[in-house]
């Protein structure tokens, strides 16, 4: 579903990605780890089509992200630590707006469905600025899955969440990942990441340094591998 080869991205003369290869088959969930500046966010933004490549190639469902038209963006639902929603609109108005942008069929019914899924149905008429950080993040997920994308990209979705909100996010992601949806997420929380994903990748210095299935890894063992891989970064 996601195929990236020889990805290079530089900001000016500073290379951030130095030849990343990545294949994520449909239905798999992958957690991407790495220290600050490793290139995780840059990689995920390139896959989402928000950032241009310096060289290399990214394909989603066999279509080249850089060459395909805007229709390819329908493949992707994107959640970042920024919620990408409007504070001065209600949850329902936000979803009406994004539903219109994605031409979601039977929008009213779909909005009710996703708001129930994220546990915000009771607050749908409330303005977003009255929400807690955890509720805003749940609304961000509702926005990302509204058009039922086959690929979900999550860039540090747990940033700033307390334990309760993070647990709620985890159960939501498990539910979303249990379908055929492909999930690629980045997080700094090692335990949470390998619990959420089928596969763990460590990115450091703009390259993939480690790639393994999470079921083969214990939490303590993965922490050791991570520390060894990342070293003093």
């Amino acid at each position: 579903m996601i195929h990236a080869s020889k990805l290079v991205k530089a900001f000016g003369r500073r290379p951030v990605l130095r030849g990343v290869d990545l294949d994520v088959p449909a239905g798999q969930s992958v957690a991407l780890f790495g220290p600050n500046g490793a290139g995780k966010t840059t990689l995920i933004r390139i896959i989402a089509g928000l950032s241009k490549l310096t060289s290399g190639r990214v394909q989603l469902g066999g279509q080249d992200v850089q060459k395909a038209g805007p229709g390819l963006r329908r493949y992707v639902g994107f959640v970042s630590h920024n919620p990408l929603v409007y504070d001065s609109l209600t949850a329902e108005e936000n979803l009406i707006f994004f539903g219109r942008m994605y031409e979601v069929p039977q929008l009213d019914a779909r909005i009710v469905q996703v708001l129930e899924q994220v546990g915000l149905a009771g607050r749908r008429k409330d303005v977003v600025r009255t929400y807690s950080r955890g509720m805003i993040q749940r609304l961000a997920i509702a926005r990302a899955i509204l058009h039922d994308p086959p690929i979900l990209l999550l860039d540090e979705p747990d940033t700033g969440l307390d334990q309760q909100a993070a647990d709620m996010l985890r159960s939501l992601l498990v539910e979303l990942g249990s379908s055929d949806r492909t999930v690629l997420l980045t997080t700094h929380n090692l335990e949470r990441g390998i619990e959420w994903a089928d596969r763990a990748l460590i990115l450091n210095g703009g390259r993939v340094r480690f790639d393994a299935a999470t079921q083969e890894l214990g939490s303590a063992e993965f922490r050791r591998i991570y520390t060894e891989t990342v070293g003093g970064s």
Binding site: R45, P70, M101
Partner: protein, 223 residues
């Protein structure tokens, strides 16, 4: 039709948010009203010189109030990263430009709608003629077209609120010259036919800059 529906969805979103917060319109209206009042007190406006000063006062009030609105329209997109939410949508990015442009135009027109009667009363000069309104509409269109593009460009700069007027005003000189000249001639009693070359300049400016902004917007918002 799908393209147009998405443009209108962006306009709907901006209007809805503005109706709730009144962030943009309130600051534009207060600023425009205050600047007209200050000019009223600052100049010695007698019947023989009011027609010389009034066109400049009108365009200055619109321009400065407009900058506030243009700045706010993209800052509100930037604060929660919602501009990225827009960029992720499966639509040609020129639709985002047109959606924002129509929203900005709407807000500036509302300010003008209140400004013209206010100035008519304060300066005792009839400003509600169809020809003058046509000149204002054409000038405002060019102003908002360039302003929307530059507002998108300046949001990623450090001094974004200062950067917009610095970028925008030099490019706006043809609109100001044509707008002031056309309004001035209309107040002197000329007809629309007499000021046609200024109107043509405004039409040409609008067409060129809307086309250029449509082509450039994707590059302006890309990382």
């Amino acid at each position: 039709m799908s393209y147009l529906r998405k443009v209108m969805a962006i306009v709907w979103k901006d209007v809805r948010a503005e109706l709730r917060t009144k962030d943009i319109l309130s600051s534009m209206l207060v600023f425009a009203g205050l600047s007209v009042l200050i000019f009223q007190f600052a100049f010695d406006l007698r019947a023989d010189n009011v027609r010389l000063v009034l066109p400049g006062v009108l365009w200055i009030a619109i321009t400065f109030a407009g900058v506030l609105g243009l700045n706010r329209s993209f800052i509100l997109e930037q604060d929660r990263g919602s501009l990225e939410g827009l960029l992720l949508a499966p639509v040609d990015r020129s639709a985002i430009y047109f959606g924002k442009l129509i929203g900005n135009l709407l807000f500036i027109f509302i300010v003008e709608l209140l400004l013209l009667p206010l100035m008519t009363v304060l300066f005792n000069v009839w400003l509600l003629s169809p020809a003058l309104i046509l000149v204002l509409v054409l000038g405002t269109l060019g102003y908002a077209a360039v302003g929307t593009l530059f507002a998108a460009l300046s949001i990623n700069t450090r001094a974004r609120e200062v950067m917009l007027p610095i970028l925008l005003f030099p490019v706006m000189i043809p609109v100001f010259v044509a707008g002031v000249q056309a309004v001035s001639r209309l107040l002197d009693g000329d007809s629309l036919a007499d000021i046609m070359r200024w109107v043509q300049l405004l039409v040409a400016y609008d067409a060129i800059f809307i086309a250029a902004a449509m082509l450039l917007f994707d590059y302006v918002v890309e990382e």
